[in-house]
Symmetry: C2
Subunit: 326 residues, 2 copies
Amino acid sequence: MTRQELVNVLLKRASGKPGTRGEAFAPANIALCKYWGKRDAELNLPVNSSLSISLGKLGTKTVIKFSKTADKIFLNGKPAPKAFAARLSAYLDLFRNEGQFFEVRTKNNIPTAAGLASSASGFAALVKALDQLLGWGFNPRELSMLARIGSGSASRSLYEGFAVWHAGQRADGMDSYAEALNREWPSLRIGILEVSKARKKTGSTEGMNRTSETSELYESWPKQAECDFDELRTAIAAEDFPMLGKTAENNALAMHSTMLAAWPPLCYWKPQSIALMQKVWAAREAGIELYFTMDAGPNLKLLFLKEDQAAVKALFPKVQVVNPWI
Amino acid sequence: MTRQELVNVLLKRASGKPGTRGEAFAPANIALCKYWGKRDAELNLPVNSSLSISLGKLGTKTVIKFSKTADKIFLNGKPAPKAFAARLSAYLDLFRNEGQFFEVRTKNNIPTAAGLASSASGFAALVKALDQLLGWGFNPRELSMLARIGSGSASRSLYEGFAVWHAGQRADGMDSYAEALNREWPSLRIGILEVSKARKKTGSTEGMNRTSETSELYESWPKQAECDFDELRTAIAAEDFPMLGKTAENNALAMHSTMLAAWPPLCYWKPQSIALMQKVWAAREAGIELYFTMDAGPNLKLLFLKEDQAAVKALFPKVQVVNPWI
């Protein structure tokens, strides 16, 4: 099935009428159990289910209107870079009538493409804004599937708080959507440690492909991921923070391990990443309940509880603390 | 079977008479396919076969005599540290008659326990020196098995050049010995990049145990290792350097990957290790046939051919180049 065929199936369910404007915000999300490997590259269907936490107010705000002559794409107030605009217009092709163009104004309050998942919040916000503009009246699951074909992890950015993205089994991907866990954990905090803002040399999709094709250790990944997914759900239900932290950190390190064992080796880490990891491990040995996760990039995202915030800030003065619940 | 029982079986094959002195040198060795995981901890029987290259003149020289009252152990001209002396005396217990003591003078010309495998050359030199002192008249396979129960990788340090250590299948380990490959590759060079001389916090045996017990990705290791072992033998027979380099580097990164995915995470790397790896990858992208391997430590061992030695020295002014063939 092609992406266009999937979109056509969904558009048949649309109920409302087009308006003149859509505006939406979607949060960035950080996976605690990572999306790493595609069972279908065309439809962005994942090998394994994943679980994330959204970053509250950090994310993307997008306004969309119709445009008369051509697509006009703005990023953070300026005409968007070519590659960004081209990717967005290609996505809009899936939805436009003949001769229909869009004006899209999108703003990120997180760094773009530094492993902080701005494509996730970007496609999620775009889909929500499109739903308003075109009057689809879709439910979150349907929006999640549309976001997914823009960027896999965008499926999870439809939601605040914890979200799970079901891998599903169907070839058409109609069972591969995200949904909210609806469990608040008010004391949970995220700390962003930025090692580099630079755009990564190897994008996530290329990284996934190289890993699944060449890394012998990738064979063990799907089993670990499904196991971690279940453990995290259990940890969240029980508010068991050490279990959550351990599982998330181990999952991230296992993902990076599959990359390091690929050929050519894929290493998103910088020397500073190792220094920060070792600082986290030393803090934990000293009794602080502090864990980290990392996406396909050099930055660390700390996981800790509100009561340890002062200790974490003392150890990492540059940390940007995010309260996912506001 | 215990180590003592294995020693007793072998000692029944001894043919000569004790002398008054033994003196032997054994080279350090660097595994191109790593020994990582034990199928029998008592007998140091490995999960997978491994393949190494010995470091020529870098290694351990040991002189052994009888001592009247107690073991006297010297390391690099000074009374050996307690832990070192205790490990050595415990090993000598396997061979001593009642009331028999030894004086052992051992010298390393490589750093001790910085991932440069001085325990490998140490036990290999000791076994060769013991063979002279006690007049066993053992062949290299038998000496290799005795060295193995001192330190697994010592089984390979009995030989110059390339050596293979067969994992074997027998419970008594009598098929788990190393032998020389007897293939010279005169243009092959090793470059040692020392990141740290510090003794590692987690020893290899503890690291292997933690990894095999807790790392989900370790499940894929034995298959990869056996595959790499075969590839390396093919590469050596064909003198195919890119194949040798790629397989060795991938094998080392896969081993470190299994550790990173253990719990607690096991990371022998320092920030400088990542910086050096990235420098190797950049050199390769620039067209230099340069690869690396790493043991359970932060140091890199470069692999390259004689014709690239000047380029490698220009890139890494501190590299210590080893010609394994002299």
